[in-house]
């Protein structure tokens, strides 16, 4: 415990474990009575003179009819995705998840991020076909109906665009929300057929090292995937959080490659061709190859590496006075499970281990939380994640030293580079206002 932490612990019941008021995560787990007692001590003085309780109108009349498919309360209309192309002009369309307005680890289907390159195709599920061919013993065609008769598996996994967090390549911190900075990642439970099951039936020629996956959308989007991944944990996803895929997420079927760059998880999947060499499609040889500071470029990055960010509080919010708050955010890694998340309130000088919400699943969102007593002074909040393979989320300085940064801030909706995963910092000012900073 450093000196500032020692100062904060005075006159408090809660164990401060790091600078600027970070409280032991165990205060959240099994020490609730103590926590409630401490909070009660702060608010008890205002009980006298409160207005007597009355019944509001909705408690005195019959409510509305029950709809066949329910949608969120009309008071939640601000909880929506932000759109890059609402009028469907002839270009890409992005929709970003509002992480700062959500909790837990499951992204509701209506708020799952999407990127589509030629609008969202309207596919008749009865006519859709998936063909597997190329270096196989027997090419086969599957309908949605036949795939539904195969053994189904479910797994929770995040999907992240390779260009998520790209605004952080800016040399100055862009004053944008967590939705604008990190909204191109979401997490859902996907159900479908393991690709290895289908490849067992087609047979795979040992010469096949890659497969080219292709969608039924108008760009016929195409990506090359190593057969190694196809035989590992790839699946043909048919359901998203229990219901059929959302149209923008690939209805009626998509390739799911847990932990791998979103664009490779080909939507509206209609063809898989096994081949000896990668196709060098435009999306892999141009779009998803990343320029490095020395002028060379990465190819076949694939992996979405370990990352975390605080969703609450985050940029654009305002804290309503000193007191007890919960810092909460999301951590994930394309390599496996999150091992631990550390949180700092003093810009990285001292750290406290956050509580991880169980279950902690491989290649899935992991919610972390930590109680924090804000004393009203300046604070810089950060989170840093470790995964079970030993990968550590880099600081911004470490990241930029290897991958570089831009010479000037980019347009917020652009993708100036990809696979950005450093620590994100939020500065809390004395007014309570939260801003994006580099620290």
């Amino acid at each position: 415990m450093d000196k500032s932490a020692d100062r904060n612990v005075r006159n408090q019941d809660l164990p401060v474990v790091a600078g600027n008021g970070l409280i032991d995560r165990r205060a959240l787990l099994g020490r609730g009575v103590m926590l409630a007692g401490a909070m009660g001590a702060c608010v008890a003085s205002s009980a006298a003179g409160a207005e007597p309780l009355t019944d509001p109108p909705w408690s005195l009349e019959i409510g509305e009819a029950t709809p066949p498919y329910q949608t969120p309360s009309k008071f939640e209309t601000k909880v929506v995705r932000t759109l890059s192309n609402p009028n469907n002009e002839p270009r890409n369309s992005h929709a970003r998840t509002p992480h700062h307005l959500l909790q837990g680890t499951t992204t509701p289907n209506g708020l799952h991020f999407t990127i589509n390159h030629g609008g969202i195709p309207v596919i008749d599920p009865d006519q859709h076909r998936l063909v597997i061919h190329g270096l196989v013993k027997q090419p086969l065609e599957f309908s949605l109906e036949t795939l539904s008769r195969y053994p189904q598996v479910s797994r929770v996994t995040f999907l992240e665009c390779g260009g998520n967090s790209a605004p952080m390549f800016s040399p100055q911190p862009m004053q944008e929300t967590v939705q604008a900075l990190h909204g191109l990642v979401s997490c859902a439970e996907w159900t479908g057929v393991k690709l290895s099951t289908l490849l067992e039936e087609t047979g795979v020629d040992p010469a096949a090292k890659w497969m080219v996956a292709e969608g039924a959308d108008s760009p016929h989007l195409s990506r090359s995937v190593p057969v190694k991944k196809a035989l590992d944990d790839a699946m043909i996803a048919l359901y998203q959080n229990g219901e059929r895929l959302m149209p923008g997420n690939g209805y009626p079927m998509r390739l799911l490659l847990p932990g791998y760059e979103g664009n490779m998880n080909v939507k509206f999947l209609r063809r898989i061709k096994l081949v000896e060499q990668p196709a060098m499609s435009m999306y892999e040889s141009r779009t998803y190859s990343q320029i490095l500071p020395d002028g060379k470029a990465y190819r076949f990055y694939f992996l979405q590496e370990v990352k975390s960010f605080i969703t609450n509080p985050s940029h654009g919010m305002a804290l309503k006075g000193p007191g007890l708050y919960e810092i909460s955010g999301i951590a994930y890694s394309g390599t496996g499970r999150i091992e631990k998340v550390m949180v700092s309130a003093d810009g990285g000088k001292s750290w406290a281990q956050a509580a991880l919400q169980e279950p902690v699943l491989s290649k899935a969102f992991t919610r972390f939380r930590l109680p924090w007593r804000w004393d009203g002074g300046p604070a810089t909040l950060q989170s840093r994640a470790w995964d079970e393979a030993g990968n550590v989320q880099p600081t911004r300085a470490e990241f930029v030293a290897v991958r570089g940064e831009l010479t000037k801030p980019p347009p917020i909706l652009s993708f100036p580079n990809q696979h950005y995963n450093s620590i994100t910092s939020w500065a809390v000012g004395t007014s309570g206002e939260v801003k994006h900073v580099y620290a």
């Binding site: 090419p139 008769r149 039936e201 060499q277 141009r286 652009s414 100036p416």
Partner: protein
């Protein structure tokens, strides 16, 4: 990016081994097809030219097609100014911004141009071009970028042989995942 420290993978290997030993019975409901039936869908082109169809086209044949079907979005002669990226640009990459990528300074294989036009262009009418037209447009774009001569025809023989300047400038990020 990330930093690594050594850990034990023994448990992971054990799980993988036991999973591969237990092959479940599967329904065998896939409908057998022959490659001829798949033909129209099979538009994958590999960088060595595998998959390139018959046909041919020259820059001169591509120019009027480009003016009619491409320039509205990609600008006159592919020089940009419309809603879509410029296709003919001459500049070096300085710094890490992806906005600098051009066909000439970045794309490693000319086969990708044919592949992408045939599967995705024109944006409002994909797969409406004949293979000869796709070859002609590919030849036109390559010639305007001075990557081939103005009289060079592109076909299944010549296209894979076009040397793209940036081809040897890529690093495979995680070779152990391939």
């Amino acid at each position: 990016m990330s930093t690594r420290r050594p850990v034990l993978f023994a448990a992971a290997f054990l799980v993988a081994t036991s999973a591969s030993l237990s092959k479940a019975e599967t329904p065998h409901l896939g409908k057998p097809l022959d490659e001829a039936a798949i033909g129209y869908w099979d538009i994958s082109i590999l960088p060595d030219g595998t998959g390139l169809p018959k046909g041919s086209g020259t820059p001169a044949q591509g120019a009027p097609i480009f003016a009619e079907k491409c320039s509205a979005c990609h600008g006159d002669n592919g020089k940009g100014g419309g809603i879509a990226a410029a296709l003919v640009e001459e500049h070096k990459i300085v710094g890490i911004s992806a906005s600098q990528k051009t066909i000439k300074n970045f794309w490693p294989y000319a086969t990708t141009i044919f592949d992408f036009i045939r599967r995705a262009m024109p944006f409002n009418a994909p797969r409406s071009l004949s293979d000869d037209e796709v070859y002609a447009l590919t030849a036109y774009i390559l010639a305007e970028n001075k990557l081939i001569g103005s009289g060079d025809a592109m076909n299944a023989e010549t296209l894979p042989k076009v040397k793209m300047p940036n081809r040897d400038n890529f690093i495979i990020r995680f070779p152990d995942r391939i």
